[in-house]
Chain length 220, copies 2
DNA sequence: ACTTATTTGTCCGTATGTATA
DNA sequence: CTATACATACGGACAAATAAG
């Protein structure tokens, strides 16, 4: 049985990921408490968890706000994320079992089906499963955890990146190249392909900066 | 002004780092509360932070215990650490300023002087500064933070590794090769050299497993 | 399997510090 | 600058769940 604060953390985290709570927005403990029908204590504990993950910032006696990530820091985070994922891909190419390959291909094909879905977020969600498959394929539990944590922090931005015109199709063909490299055991190639796939999002300074202002304006 | 739970987290973290609280040991909230002269609330908040860092493990309704790092997990952590440091080295080779070079060389020479110091920990401490120089040279604040965090968690094990006979001299010559590569801007070489330098500690399964039993016995 | 005891998870009251008029 | 209002940080109490006998 899961802890109450764990569930609350996930709920609040999701609200932040989908932009329901925008960066910089103040998180009122009492308000959240009544909203979820609990007291302030479990809310506080959930907020503390989010704070140690870097999702929100807690200023002593001044409450918590959703973390505002500067474009500079965002670039830095993508730079690290790309290397973490590259490492996952290299290890996956060497260590994946036939069952892992099957799971990866299934996730990949699920993305293919979602390419022209009416809801653009559908591809986003399936893409997440795809990346998680590669993390898991590294067979390094600590690395998987690190990758997941970073992924969660960058989630809102990765999602917005797919809104750029034509990005979904390009994303899929990049995925395809990665899959081939992994299955054929071309470790270094897999790493480089996945790194570039992630860094495309980081390299486009302008897109990202633009999405920054967009994310703070969109409340849904 | 810092929060109470922040200070408590640091205090408890230190107790764990110096072995005052051994891996697997149960952390009694009430006991810690009376020990620090506070109520259970700030203790709980500190524990939650330590749990999200992976320092302790909180099982629902069953309390918190100091995380037990299995040899398997230790290997995994070193595997990740080696890639993080490799990334730092690659970036450092491309981005270091002349001032950065000077700082790196200074730290390197400080290690050289400590090679035959009576206290073997002297080399360890100067080696830490050396590695921090490389982190800083990446000029990626987020990466620096990640590297520091991981470094802190592996600190006890890195220190023990240097007790192996002849390891200090080998460590220094590996450092030397890394320094040359960084200064000459050979990015990929610097990365690979530093990765191997770290992984030497991970590859020696037996040494690490041996140090595991030793570390749980030494209370000072 | 039942009872007891300890410990955690949650709620609420209060005081202190921050922001605002 | 003072005073007021309000949100946060902490303490204490209660209830529920687990472990022990």
């Amino acid at each position: 049985m899961k802890k109450r604060s764990e569930l609350l953390r996930e709920a609040i985290e999701e609200m932040i990921a989908v932009g329901k709570l925008a960066p910089g927005q103040h998180l009122d403990e009492t308000e959240l408490a009544t909203q979820f029908g609990v007291s302030r204590t479990p809310i506080r504990e959930a907020l503390i968890q989010l704070a140690s993950m870097g999702i929100i910032v807690m200023r002593p006696r001044r409450g918590a706000i959703v973390a505002e990530i500067s474009p500079q820091k965002l670039i830095e985070m993508f730079e690290v994320m790309s290397e973490i994922e590259a490492m996952c891909a290299r290890l996956a190419a060497r260590r994946m079992s036939p069952a892992d390959h099957a799971a990866l291909l299934a996730a990949h094909h699920a993305c293919e089906e979602a390419r022209n879905a009416p809801d653009p977020d559908e591809y986003f969600y399936r893409g997440e499963t795809f990346h998680q498959c590669i993390y898991a394929g590294s067979h390094n539990a600590f690395l998987i955890e690190q990758a997941r944590t970073l992924h969660r922090r960058l989630r809102p931005y990765r999602r917005l990146q797919l809104r750029v015109h034509g990005r979904i199709d390009k994303s899929f063909s990049e995925h395809d190249a990665v899959v081939q490299a992994i299955i054929e055991g071309r470790s270094d190639a897999a790493g480089e392909l996945l790194r570039d796939h992630i860094m495309i999002q980081g390299h486009r300074f302008t897109d990202l900066i633009a999405s920054l202002s967009r994310i703070s304006n969109q409340a849904a």
